[in-house]
């Protein structure tokens, strides 16, 4: 499940950020709430072309209600830049019928180049 999710999420992010709908996002601890604002925030990030490369992925159930915590580290490839930025990202997923929505998304650059 967590693999499917991250694959979907990063594919969407890298191809068309405006289609991501979720409820809370933290990008380098600048807090954004609400699906509309989050999408605005994502679209306003200063890159045209983005690629993600996952290096680690781990996931655990976070509550008896079926919440899942996904922890990813990876490389963020911005525009034509070949040198990746290293980041870690946490997704707190909450079940919603047969799918999940992102309740919290915490992104952090990990590596001061």
């Amino acid at each position: 499940m967590s693999e499917q999710f991250t694959e979907f999420y990063y594919n969407q992010f890298d191809s068309d950020r405006s289609q991501l709908e979720q409820s809370m996002l933290t990008f380098e601890t600048s807090q954004v709430q609400g699906a509309k604002d989050i999408v605005e925030k994502l679209v306003s990030l200063p890159f045209q072309k983005v690629g993600h490369r996952i290096t680690t992925l781990d996931a655990q159930p976070a509550s008896p209600n079926g919440d899942v915590l996904v922890l990813v580290t990876g490389e963020l490839l911005v525009d034509e830049e070949q040198n990746p930025q290293r980041y870690s990202q946490v997704f707190h997923l909450i079940p919603d019928g047969s799918s999940y929505y992102v309740y919290n998304d915490i992104f952090r650059l990990n590596y001061g180049a």
């Binding site: 200063p46 290096t55 680690t56 490389e75 830049e81 870690s88």
Partner: protein, 629 residues
């Protein structure tokens, strides 16, 4: 890829890189290449390069041959220097007192020999003993190399010109570079000496040294990690792969010249070099990256905050939790088991792909890899389950498989980054912790010896290949997520995910923008009112009690009034649109500058949210009087 103007002519103009006169002539290339975008210049180096060349030649002339003078104690050092200059007409340069001798330099070997003949001359009542600390004496090679380095260092240009080292007359005379094998040992020694001399070097020229590989000069990266320009022109480097050893090493290298080496004909030459040197802008006189864009990428215009807590209660709870946890994690992990319930889960993943910032040349993950659950690598469902610790007993096994550690959160909080969020569905909170630790002891048990027989799949074989004797203890970095839930008056860790990676410095935690209000507190986030959960888009106005505002920094209402219409300095870090936004909030709410700014930021620059949040909080009496102008 971006090509600089005039670059098309570069190949044809490579003649510009041919050495035309003595040692040091190539010093110009580095600077010259950078400015090589004038129309029609075709890569030929003129102008600034010529000046640099002259400077380099001057440097060669100076400070060349070391001499030692003893028996001078009847007078002062300065007396001696002027005495020698007067008497012998040979100036003694850069004289220093070392032990019982005054050591200095003369310009040439001939001067040195001439000066030596003056040995025995009387100075201040004593006979001077003048010696040349060269061959036969201990440390003579050091003196020789030191003299060479000083000849080749140009402090004004911050240039260390090591062009054609073996042609150096002084070194030649002393047989220092008679063979290639000697040369390969000589370079690391040169680098070591250069470190000791504390040269301020931005550019190094290693052209024309018959180098057929990088391996002999890798130490350059340790001595000059912040090098900006490097020339390796006209060597014999043929293997592209040999550059890999410098990957992630020269983080500030801006210009590199490799022209005149066989390696430049490799079809992968440019992309590979660009990858090895992430901030390289100019390669062989051609622009390969847009410098402005590069800067933008490395300075993401995003607020970076070291610590973030959703509210003050979470802040207290989570900081206490983390400092206690790490204390036991370092001293006795069994003490932590009471925090894990039978349903609690713990897993480790290894991210070895991150560049290693530490000096440790080899960094080992041998202890972690056999238990790494990284789902992007471990595909076997059975292995995934095996590597997920559930309940205190199986969690302890994992704890004991990893080295003993030492964290310095309390003494060096700047090396750590942390944030904490409420998890209202379980009345708990989520903590993200990033930082570093020192491995101080081998694990209580070694997964390499225990789990091989039981583990299966790819990961198991990988573990089997790891020899525990090679598991060196080093400094490492980590990311960790805790889901903490209060239960029966204490706390339970429901989930615990740990990522181990090579050590990286804490640059990425250094805050880039100062966020108001400037209270001196690290977490200027106001406590939220009761019952408010993340996900609601209500903008909060901080109550006055817990907000440690320094009244002196609050503008008076008079100042405030004057500031309307002009943009206050406090807003200078914002974009013009954001400045306008804040000014409008001030006008419409009559809140003072700082609270208006806070409100604006918390609304994520959504005006409707800001105003509605303001009205709601105002109605509930949550806005303190001092928040207004």
């Amino acid at each position: 890829m971006y090509r600089g103007r005039g670059s098309g002519g570069y190949r044809g103009g490579r003649g510009g890189y041919q050495r035309s006169n003595g040692a040091g002539a190539d010093g110009m290339e580095i600077e010259g290449g950078v400015r090589n975008n004038g129309a029609g210049n075709g890569g030929r180096i003129t102008g600034p390069g010529e000046q640099l060349n002259q400077l380099a030649n001057q440097a060669v002339q100076q400070n060349s041959v070391p001499v030692e003078v003893r028996g001078w104690q009847g007078g002062s050092k300065d007396d001696l220097v002027s005495f020698i200059s007067r008497k012998t007409r040979i100036p003694l340069l850069n004289a220093v007192i070392e032990g019982d001798a005054i050591k200095g330099f003369v310009k040439t070997n001939r001067d040195a020999e001439d000066l030596k003949k003056w040995s025995g001359v009387r100075f201040a009542g004593n006979a001077l003993k003048i010696e040349l600390p060269s061959s036969g004496q201990q440390g003579s090679a050091m003196v020789l190399l030191k003299g060479f380095l000083h000849r080749r260092y140009n402090a004004n240009a911050k240039l260390l010109d090591l062009t054609n080292i073996s042609s150096d007359a002084d070194l030649q005379q002393n047989g220092a570079f008679s063979s290639l094998s000697v040369q390969s040992k000589m370079f690391p020694a040169l680098m070591k000496l250069a470190s000791m001399e504390n040269f301020d070097v931005e550019s190094v020229n290693l052209s024309e040294n018959n180098l057929d590989d990088i391996s002999g000069i890798t130490t350059l990266a340790q001595t000059f990690p912040n090098l900006k320009n490097l020339a390796l022109t006209n060597n014999k480097i043929s293997k592209l792969r040999s550059f890999e050893i410098w990957k992630n090493k020269f983080k500030n290298l801006r210009e590199l010249i490799i022209a005149g080496n066989p390696v430049t004909t490799d079809p992968q030459y440019k992309p590979t070099i660009a990858k090895v040197f992430p901030r390289l802008v100019i390669l062989d006189g051609i622009m390969i990256r847009d410098e402005g864009k590069l800067q933008l990428i490395y300075q993401l215009p995003i607020l970076k905050k070291q610590f973030f807590f959703e509210d003050s209660e979470i802040q207290t709870l989570s900081t206490q939790f983390v400092s206690n946890f790490l204390q036991f994690w370092d001293s006795d992990r069994t003490q932590l088991l009471q925090l894990y319930s039978p349903q609690s889960q713990f897993s480790i993943s290894v991210d070895s792909s991150v560049p290693n910032d530490s000096n440790a040349s080899q960094i080992s993950f041998g202890y972690y890899i056999p238990i790494s659950r990284n789902l992007s690598r471990v595909s076997s469902e059975r292995t995934r389950q095996q590597r997920l610790g559930t309940g205190p007993e199986s969690i302890l096994k994992l704890f004991q498989n990893i080295p003993k550690t030492k964290h310095s959160l309390t003494s060096n909080p700047e090396l750590y980054s942390m944030e904490a969020w409420r998890f209202p569905q379980v009345n708990g909170f989520i903590i993200s912790l990033h930082g570093e630790f020192e491995e101080v002891g081998h694990p209580a048990t070694d997964a390499n010896q225990h789990s091989n027989s039981s583990s299966s799949g790819r990961g198991g074989r990988r573990g089997a290949m790891t020899n525990s004797s090679t598991n060196r203890l080093t400094k490492k970095s980590f990311d960790r997520e805790f889901v903490v839930v209060p239960a029966n008056g204490s706390l339970i860790i429901a989930s615990d995910l740990l990522i181990i990676r090579p050590w990286s410095n804490h640059q990425s935690f250094v805050e880039t923008t100062i966020t108001p209000p400037p209270t001196g507190e690290q977490q200027p986030i106001p406590p939220q009112s009761q019952g408010s959960i993340p996900g609601s888009s209500q903008a909060q106005i901080p109550p006055s009690s817990s907000q440690q505002q320094a009244p002196s920094v609050l503008p008076t209402s008079q100042q405030q009034a004057q500031q309307i219409g002009s943009i206050p300095q406090e807003l200078s870090h914002l974009s013009p649109t954001q400045q306008e936004f804040v000014m409008k909030v001030i006008q419409d709410t009559k809140l003072n500058l700082q609270f208006s700014l806070l409100l604006s930021e918390q609304s994520s620059w959504n005006y409707e949210i800001a105003i509605n949040g303001f009205k709601e909080s105002h109605q509930q009496g949550q806005i303190p009087p001092e928040a207004f102008m």
